[in-house]
Symmetry: C2
């Protein structure tokens, strides 16, 4: 369950649930995504287990949480003692597997979408990168994560541009009834 550890990791500075929702939509979002309907109950559970504590109550009933000593210990334990979950789920690549069923022009359309998406994402990441220069250990860890996003997204963009070229020069190929695996 990475959600709780993503939350614990984010709560080393005090934040409200609402802050966390926005944080998941922004920087944390390139590693893990979550909706408010999942975040709020999880915060309640973490508090119940003593891994986070509520440190303030704000204007509109907002609750500010922060990680506890036990929470930090649990986070360290998770990092040290458990292996990363490697499951891959990429809807776009599933689509590529069946792309040969489409008309040539439709394939181009799909691949143009991939190029556009990766370009936009990459631009976001690079803007984040330009915003500050990391100086602290934590800042450097965040930069490492961001750099992962940039490197892999750049590769995805390169792939999409190359695939689009391939598909363009492939226009006269028939769409298939073949079984070549």
């Amino acid at each position: 369950m990475s959600l709780r550890h993503a939350l614990l990791g984010a709560l080393d500075v005090p934040r409200t649930g609402y802050d966390l929702v926005k944080y998941f939509d922004a920087s944390l979002g390139y590693a893990w995504s979550a909706r408010h309907s999942q975040i709020y109950p999880e915060l309640a559970r973490l508090k119940g287990e003593g891994l986070i504590e509520q440190v303030a109550e704000g204007p509109r009933g907002s609750k500010t949480y922060r990680i506890t000593r036990e929470g930090t210990e649990e986070l360290r334990r998770w990092l040290r003692e458990t292996a990363p979950e490697r499951t891959v789920r990429n809807d776009a690549v599933v689509r590529v597997f069946s792309l040969w069923l489409l008309e040539p022009e439709e394939r181009l359309e799909f691949l143009r979408g991939e190029v556009a998406f990766s370009r936009a994402r990459l631009a976001e990441y690079e803007q984040l990168k330009d915003e500050d220069e990391p100086r602290t250990p934590k800042g450097r860890a965040l930069r490492l994560a961001l750099e992962y996003g940039i490197q892999t997204r750049r590769a995805a963009l390169g792939w999409a541009e190359w695939a689009l070229e391939q598909a363009e020069s492939d226009l006269f190929q028939p769409i298939g009834q073949d079984t070549g695996e």
Copy 2:
């Protein structure tokens, strides 16, 4: 729901549920993963909806399925009319966000694990690539998907090697109590 479309895409050639399980563990696995306990019930549903049909019954009660005309139409409809789901979930990157909480030597250990993992995956993919030269439209689509895996995995490996170097030259930095975001 990408699982059913991954199955439909795989069933343009006749396959048993067991074949599909292995297929998800091998090539399809770099796009989507699924266990037999999810695959068998989904096959039953697809058959119930007429999107696939059973074309043979084998020795140990094995059932061979193939996509129907309606199934192919559904697959095309999905490709044309729905947008790829872009949600990212990467446990390893969540870990990087909190990596600054570990002792320097533990950070190196984590990053060495990332290097090893990416190297192994990349080697698998490159071996798949060397196995055959695609000639048909379908073969070329599969190659496109494989090439995506290779390009992005190579980038992940490059990142991990670079991050490891960073962390090695970072050994004298304190582990942090800072709040630099």
